[in-house]
Symmetry: C2
Subunit: 235 residues, 2 copies
């Protein structure tokens, strides 16, 4: 083997490959349906086929690539309907989490949720999308945890992960920040009241709106060819 890639940052080789490949898929550098040849990928990243194989397995589990025995892997084709189906599932899952949170959150959890939520109002005023996005993720995670159900948590996080590529730009829509906060507010209020039904519907609506906001950014129908130069830093 030729040069080491110590320059690149940490984690096991497989992790790096997972990141590298998933990045290339998510950004469209690798296009849906495209064949993923193990040898080529190995050569491209200057590693052996072994970690590539394992990375493809994981990506397959994540739903980003599809694998058929003895026939190699291809970039998963996510149809419009499948995407809608995922958002729909997400809405239902969030609704469950919100309902359970309304019923099961401890006093401490409720306090923190409310406090953080109120604090985030400042981020909206300042209009700092980057930071709000960060907070938003945390907020939802708090909701998932509040359900006190490990399996629901796993399902929800997994689904969110699969959707991540498709909702990058949701906060770029004007006024989305404030609206998001209002929707969060409805959820928080319901949870504080212990009104599980209200919390559920509020959460479901919240996701539905995000879904619509993201619907604009459909992937897959991009001009062929030189799918813009990738930020060359591997992983």
């Amino acid at each position: 083997m030729s040069g080491k890639r110590n320059l690149i940052r940490s984690g096991t080789t497989v992790d790096q490959m997972v990141r590298a490949i998933s990045d290339r898929i998510v950004t469209g550098f690798l296009r849906p349906g495209e064949k993923l040849d193990e040898a080529s990928l190995a050569a491209r990243f200057d590693v052996s086929r072994t970690p590539i194989r394992e990375a493809l397995s994981r990506l397959s589990a994540m739903g980003l690539v599809e694998r058929r025995p003895n026939r190699g892997a291809t970039v998963a084709v996510v149809t419009q309907e499948h995407l809608a189906s995922m958002f729909e599932s997400m809405a239902e899952l969030e609704a469950i989490c919100a309902r359970f949170s309304a019923e099961r959150m401890t006093a401490g959890e409720r306090r923190t949720l409310e406090a953080e939520h109120q604090a985030s109002a400042r981020l909206v005023q300042l209009g700092v999308e980057e930071e709000y996005e960060l907070f938003n993720t945390e907020f939802h995670t708090r909701l998932y945890r509040g359900a006190h159900s490990k399996h629901i948590y796993e399902l929800t996080v997994m689904t969110r992960g699969r959707l991540a590529p498709f909702r990058r730009a949701q906060f770029m829509l004007p006024g989305r920040l404030a609206q998001s906060w209002q929707e969060h507010d409805a959820i928080v209020t319901a949870i504080m009241r212990g009104d599980s039904a209200a919390a559920g519907t509020a959460a479901k609506d919240h996701v539905s709106i995000v879904s619509e906001a993201s619907a604009v950014f459909v992937i897959g129908d991009r001009p062929k060819g030189k799918a813009e130069p990738f930020p060359t830093s591997v992983s």
Copy 2:
């Protein structure tokens, strides 16, 4: 390597290993928390470490084993709470499927569902548990498909798969067959009426009862040694 293992049934080697290992986990031959040494397993099944590693990956994705980087794999420890959490999730997922089915099933799907359900009454009369179990699986699958949501379907099937080991013996309880049929009937009726709310609650109750019925067969706290032969009727 020495002898071939053509005796064992087909599929790729990895598949065989997945089946072999998962069987041993499910039947308690490999006990929760037990370390799974790659080399030992490879020797035990007379294959190389490579397919063992991939099998462990898949089993990890299935939730049967836990893997930590550089620290090997262990048989997943399923706590009482986690099991409850999974059944709870299952109930919610089935409820979603039932609701969606009530709203979205085509006329043909409804017809088949009802017809098959009515036909299954005969199985109850005859008391053929084996066959009813088979039908039962099919019935639920029909429900999952009827939701017309690929992702919900995936989540549901996955959860059902994870629960499979824990609900083997549910139909061995006396009168369970007839009760199961009654519960199915409530679901079917609601779906035929297009009453999504009723279908949802009926489905949720159905799973909840199964959950309680299975609660007796808790795994994990078994006397050491020869982990008592599991109720041998597979699924």
